[in-house]
Symmetry: C2
Subunit: 251 residues, 2 copies
C-alpha cells in the first residue's frame, strides 16, 4: 500500500471553515436574571476569526451584552445535510467587547460591510460594533464527528478552501466513478474485501469514504490526497492520482 | 372600497407557524459559571407548542440543563430569505423540565419520533427527554417586522396552514399577475396612485404588498382575504375574489 498522507482537518480548522463561509449565527447571551437568550443575527470575521457583531440596544441581545459580555455563537454549515439534524455546526464561546482603538473599530466595520454590503444601520443610534474574543470552540460535523479546540488554535487555523465547494465533485465521484472509489477503498484504505464505496466528503487533505465489506459490515475510512490541495479545481487531478496509486498497488 | 378583513397574524401565531414547521433549533443554555452556550439540536413539539428535546449529558448543553433548567430556543424559517439575514425566526424562552408523568413522557417521545423518525438514541444511556415550558416569545419576521408574545398566547395559537406553502403562489402572482396586484393595491389598499405592486407573502388572513406610488414613494400595505383560508389550495380563489372586488370598486 503506497504511503498516502492521512492528515484530517483539525477541529479548529473545521470550525474556521464553517465560520469563514457563514454570514449568520445564533447568538446566546444572558439576561439580567442570568437566563439564556438565543437570537439570530449577522456576523463577520476579523482576520483572526473573531466574530464581529453589529448589535442594537433595541434588541434584547444588545441589552444583554451591555450588562454581561459573555457570548456564544453557533454557526451552521451553509450546505445543509440531507437530514438537517446532521448539518455540521460550530459553537464559539467567549467574551464580547467593544473595539480597543479606532484602527480595530475600522477593521471591524470594514469586515462587517464586506460580509453584509447592504448594511445601512452601522451608524444608527443604538447600534454598536462588538468583537467576540473566542475562548472555546466545539465543532460537530455530524453523527459521531465532533471535537473541541481552544481559542488560540481557532485564531491560527485557516479555513479549508476545498470542502465548502466540494459537493459537486463528491456527487460526480459517486455517480460516475463508483468503480474508482471501490478501487481506492480496496487498495488505499486497507479494505481488500470492499464491495462498494461512497465518497462522503472531500477537503484539502483527503476524502472520507463509507465502505461496505463482503460480510456486509460498514467502515468509514479516510484516504489522504498525495499532496494538500489549495483549491477545489485540484480535486479532479488528486482523485485521478489516487486511482493510479490504487491500480499500481493492486497490480 | 369594499370591506375586506384586515386581520394580520399575531406574533404568537407567527411563532407557532415557525416552530410547527421546523425540526431543528439553536438552544441557549448557561454553564455552571453562568456563561451562555449556543448549540444546535433536533426538537419536536407537544400539542401546546412546548418544545421537546432529547438531550445527552455527553453534550455540554445536556450538562448545563441538569444544573440550570433555563433555556431559550431560536428556530429559523424553513424557507430562508434571499438574504439570510432577513430570514424569519422566533426565540422561545422558558424553563426545561423532565416529563411530569409517564403519559407526558410517552407523548413527548411520540412527538420526537414523529418529527425525527430515524432517531435510535432515545434509550441510550445519558439521553433524556426534556420539555420546555415557554414563558416568553419574540418573533422577528425580517426588517422592521417583529413583536413579542407571552407563553399563554403561544400555547393557544395555531400554526398558519398557508404561509409555509405560499412561496409558489407568491411567485406566480408576481410573475404572471402584476396587473391584478396593481389593481388590488389601487382599489383595496387605498393607494389609487400606485404604479406597481409586488406580493411579499401570503398567509391565511391576507397578503402583504410592496407598492410604489406615482411620486416614487413606497408603501407596504396589507390586504385581507374575503375569508380566512384553511389551506394553500384556497389561495387561488381568494386572489381571484380580491381582483373581482378591486374591479368592482374601480368600476
Amino acid at each position: 500500500m503506497p504511503s498516502v498522507p492521512q492528515t484530517a482537518p483539525t477541529a479548529a480548522e473545521q470550525a474556521r471553515t464553517l465560520t469563514e463561509h457563514g454570514r449568520v449565527a445564533t447568538l446566546a447571551t444572558v439576561g439580567g436574571d442570568g437566563a439564556p437568550w438565543a437570537s439570530y443575527l449577522a456576523y463577520a470575521l476579523l482576520a483572526d476569526g473573531s466574530p464581529v457583531l453589529c448589535v442594537s440596544t433595541m434588541a434584547e441581545h444588545g441589552r444583554n451584552l451591555v450588562d454581561d459580555q459573555r457570548a456564544s455563537l453557533c454557526v451552521l454549515d451553509q450546505t445543509p445535510a440531507a437530514d438537517p439534524v446532521e448539518t455540521a455546526r460550530v459553537t464559539l464561546a467567549g467574551v464580547a467587547r467593544r473595539a480597543r482603538d479606532t484602527d480595530e473599530e475600522a477593521a471591524a466595520r470594514a469586515a462587517f460591510l464586506a460580509a453584509h454590503p447592504g448594511t445601512d444601520f452601522l451608524d444608527f443610534h443604538g447600534f454598536s460594533i462588538w468583537i467576540v474574543d473566542v475562548e472555546r470552540v466545539r465543532w460537530v460535523g455530524g453523527f459521531a464527528r465532533m471535537d473541541s479546540a481552544d481559542g488560540a488554535s481557532y485564531a491560527t487555523a485557516t479555513a479549508d478552501p476545498v470542502s465548502p465547494h466540494a459537493a459537486g465533485a463528491v456527487a460526480h465521484l459517486n455517480e460516475d466513478h463508483a468503480d474508482a472509489l471501490l478501487l481506492i477503498a480496496r487498495a488505499l484504505a486497507d479494505l481488500p474485501d470492499a464491495v462498494s464505496a461512497e465518497c462522503l466528503r472531500c477537503d484539502r487533505y483527503g476524502m472520507d469514504l463509507a465502505v461496505t465489506r463482503a460480510d456486509g459490515s460498514r467502515e468509514w475510512p479516510r484516504v489522504g490526497w498525495p499532496q494538500r490541495l489549495d483549491e477545489p479545481a485540484q480535486l479532479r487531478a488528486a482523485s485521478v492520482e489516487l486511482v493510479k496509486q490504487a491500480r499500481a498497488a493492486l497490480a
